[in-house]
């Protein structure tokens, strides 16, 4: 059994954990990161790839705005082509009431410095003549875009290693405890002593919090994804809809990725699977938005496992029960865009006990009175 003693132990190896490892090394602390499988192989590696501020809960916008700045420099920082492109994110209205929702959101988002452009049917058709007749208007966020999720997490992990972090893969953490002096984290093949502990275990973050007597109801969330073979470039922007029941983007390579609805998550092994009926439904909905895709061939479907909180925003902040413990989990289907800033925030919390970003809405104590399990359902925007 390997034994490590470090300043900070991190449970998890998703984008939150790996970016935290980087930021903590940059702050000069020693770090051990423990990942159950492979870094960036969970939700962080299989998500839709939407890098979107538009449509977020307003409490997330300050973080999301800060993250957006980081995305511009992320490829250079990670020395990896992360495929980030500010293609814009356009949210479509399929009815007048949808349009009213978009108008109201745009008004309020402006207060957070997020500029959204409202497009009526004519302006929208002029820009995207290939949209189907069901679409009546839209809200465009020109600075949003998309990236390649498969490479971002692993690249963060490699950078963390280059900076000197101890990164252990295939090392599931079985238990962690605080003995007054520090933390002992028991993982397969390795035991870590640390002053601080970061809980970035994604869908398992609630279980980890439970080891420290903190309630955090996390439900498994497994969005259902489908991808076509590469096609000539057509879908110029990342597309969402009011209601969130379908979303579509086209990758640089030309594949059209589409999602909507949920797959299934196996709570035993934590693996998520797509559901065929859901895939067919998302395919139909995509065709109503973009009829020209009728002849495309679907080559794969998949899902992934994220943690969803009852109020659809994550837990980020200091533990209320244990000094030195910091949480960041339950990103509820939209934590990819936030990933780069979550690491910085976690480093701020570990080194200074506070963050430059407003974290009050994300405190774990909001669930202190929560009793019993929680099942999530309905549509989720990414």
């Amino acid at each position: 059994m390997e034994r490590l003693t470090v300043d900070v132990a991190i449970i998890g190896g998703g984008i939150a954990a790996c970016s935290a490892a980087v930021a903590l090394r940059e702050a000069g602390l020693t770090v051990a990161l423990l990942e159950k499988r492979l870094c960036g192989g969970g939700a962080s590696g299989v998500n839709f790839g939407g890098v979107r501020q538009q449509g977020r809960d307003f409490s997330e916008l300050p973080l999301s705005r800060r993250a957006r700045v980081l995305w511009d420099g992320l490829g250079a920082k990670l020395a990896e082509d992360v495929g980030f492109e500010a293609t814009g994110h356009i949210k479509l209205a399929r009815s007048e009431s949808d349009m009213a929702v978009l108008e109201a959101y745009a008004r309020d988002a402006a207060e957070y410095g997020l500029d959204l452009q409202l497009l009526g049917a004519n302006a929208l058709r002029a820009e995207m003549p290939w949209l189907g007749p069901a679409v009546v208007g839209a809200s465009l966020s020109p600075t949003d875009g998309q990236a390649n999720p498969r490479v971002v997490g692993p690249a963060f992990a490699r950078l963390a290693r280059r900076l000197g972090a101890e990164v252990r893969e295939h090392a599931p953490v079985r238990h962690a405890a605080h003995d007054g002096a520090g933390f002992t984290v028991e993982a397969e093949g390795v035991s870590v002593r640390s002053r601080s502990l970061v809980n970035a275990a994604g869908a398992y973050g609630g279980a980890v919090a439970g080891w420290f007597g903190e309630a955090a109801p996390v439900a498994p969330l497994s969005p259902n994804m489908v991808v076509t073979e590469p096609l000539p470039h057509l879908v110029t922007r990342s597309i969402g809809v009011v209601g969130g029941d379908v979303y579509v983007r086209q990758t640089r390579r030309g594949n059209v990725v589409l999602g909507g609805g949920r797959g299934t998550a196996d709570s035993v092994d934590g693996l998520a699977r797509p559901v065929s009926a859901t895939s067919l439904g998302a395919m139909d909905k995509t065709l109503t938005l973009i009829p020209d895709l009728a002849h495309a061939q679907v080559i794969r479907s998949w899902s992934g496992l994220d943690g969803e909180m009852p109020d659809h925003i994550p837990v980020i902040g200091l533990s209320a029960s244990t000094p030195g413990l910091v949480h960041a989990f339950g990103f509820s289907g939209h934590g990819f865009q936030l990933g780069p800033v979550v690491g910085e925030i976690l480093a701020e919390l570990v080194t200074q006990g506070r963050s430059a970003s407003p974290l009050h809405p994300f405190r774990i104590e909001r669930f202190a009175a929560w009793r019993g399990p929680y099942r999530s359902e309905g549509e989720i925007e990414h």
Binding site: S279, V298, S301
Partner: protein
């Protein structure tokens, strides 16, 4: 089985090759009416593939010495058609376990998408050629040996006027023989495995003549008839500007050779088409001789999943005769699990024959080892993943510079196996390259995870 068995369980067989047809026969004999799903237009599978109606040729011309067996299988298929729920032109593209047990099959057929709930599943999905990259392998005019054979069986045509064949498996002499018989001009027949292995294996093979064994005999017989057969060749390369113009190679003594040709058939053994078993939740095991992952199968044909039965090349390469025996055997196992009366003598007879074949198969595998040594000769510029245009160099760098130690991670970082074929063509070669670069046994790099659809489906449902 502890769970309740429905009085009339719904049984589905995927694949109407020799394995699937024999399984269907046994189930109908027991008074059941299985659903038989097959992508093909006509039953028969790979080896006994039938030409489209109207383009028939005499069985003897199409199947050679297997004509008798082919005829028997086709007759069986025709006889079964009215006793089973036979669905040709139907691809099973998704399989999902359903509660409390059984499966939902997602099918795309002449009536569009259909979801079929079944209690038990026989998977007899067959095999496809294994490829390895070599210079020029993506040029128009290069086919797999199997494709060369399909052209002959289904369309009655050769892949070119002057054809060179390259391989490492019993299919090579077999296809050479069939092409020669059909009157095609063979520019060269090149075996990348050494003749030595075959000569020592042949006496053992002679003990049990089976379809694939006959292929080995052609190594000798073909040479006798003056076919340009060469063994132990290396450094194969196809030359040509916009399509195949010539094939070059080094002989066993290192001398370079070149023949002009306009088509090349090349492949290196077979790989099981096991995506259906993967989606059904079957456990996979690594088969060290043929160096591939296959669904675990008991000698009687049971999969690790209690309601899945396996037969034929889809769960271990054994050839057509073995596929028939396994189809029969696994259906008997299924009937036993349903609590039907058992015919112990018949089971024992099949088990004995299958055991003999297994020994014989080992000899055959020794005669035609998978030529993984060729992996070292694949240049960095060579494309491995055709769908995505990913080179061997990119794969090697992902291993050395980007921490790729496992196949799914290799795919995530490089896109290899992420295209239209989902790694069915390049997966094995990519695994060999990754393992070789990391200097680890190939089984440690794992295998690509399967997901629906098993093969591409159109975004809009065809009507």
């Amino acid at each position: 089985m502890s769970e309740p068995v429905p009085a009339e369980p719904t049984l589905a067989i995927v694949g109407a090759g020799p394995a699937g047809l024999r399984a269907a026969q046994v189930l109908t004999e027991a008074g059941l009416r299985p659903i038989l799903l097959d992508e093909g237009h006509r039953a028969g599978g790979q080896i006994y593939r039938r030409p489209p109606p109207g383009a028939e040729r005499p069985a003897a011309a199409l199947y050679g010495f297997e004509a008798g067996r082919a005829q028997a299988l086709h007759d069986l298929a025709d006889a079964l058609a009215s006793q089973i729920d036979y669905r040709p032109d139907t691809m099973v593209w998704g399989i999902a376990p359903r509660a409390p047990f059984g499966f939902d099959l997602d099918c795309l057929g002449p009536r569009g998408h259909e979801r079929i709930a079944v209690d038990r599943l026989v998977l007899a999905t067959g095999a496809m050629d294994r490829t390895l990259p070599f210079p020029g392998w993506t040029l128009p005019g290069v086919f797999t040996l199997g494709a060369a054979q399909i052209a002959l069986k289904a369309q009655g045509m050769a892949i070119g006027r002057r054809v060179a064949l390259v391989g490492a498996g019993p299919l090579l002499p077999l296809v050479a023989h069939q092409y020669a018989k059909a009157g095609a001009t063979l520019a060269a027949v090149l075996d990348v495995t050494p003749l030595g292995a075959k000569v020592t294996a042949v006496p053992r093979l002679a003990l049990l003549p089976g379809t694939l064994a006959k292929g080995v005999w052609y190594t000798v017989a073909g040479a006798l008839r003056g076919l340009p057969v060469r063994s132990g060749v290396r450094a194969i390369a196809v030359e040509g500007g916009r399509q195949v113009e010539a094939l070059t190679w080094d002989d066993a003594r290192g001398r370079r050779h070149r023949v002009a040709c306009d088509a090349v058939g090349a492949s290196f053994g077979l790989r099981s088409e096991a995506q259906a078993a993967d989606l059904a939740g079957c456990r996979f095991v690594f088969e060290p001789v043929t160096r591939q992952w296959q669904p675990e199968r008991s000698p009687e044909g049971r999969a690790s999943h209690p309601h899945v039965y396996l037969a034929g090349d889809g769960s271990g390469i054994g050839g057509a005769d073995v596929a028939e025996l396994q189809g029969e055997r696994t259906a008997l196992a299924l009937l036993a699990d349903l609590g039907r009366p058992r015919d112990a003598a018949r089971e024992a007879r099949l088990d004995r024959r299958l055991a003999r074949h297994a020994g014989f198969r080992a000899a055959l595998d020794a005669a035609y080892p998978y030529p993984h040594h060729l992996v070292d000769g694949i240049g960095d510029d060579e494309i491995v993943c055709r769908c995505e245009g990913i080179t061997a160099g990119t794969l090697r760098r992902a291993a050395t510079e980007r921490d790729a130690r496992e196949m799914n991670r290799l795919k995530a970082l490089t896109r290899a196996g992420m295209g239209r074929c989902q790694g069915r063509v390049c997966g094995h070669a990519a695994a060999e390259i990754l393992a070789r670069t990391l200097a680890v046994p190939v089984e440690t790099v794992g295998r690509l995870r399967g997901q629906a659809p098993i093969k591409p489906i159109p975004l809009r449902e065809p009507v």
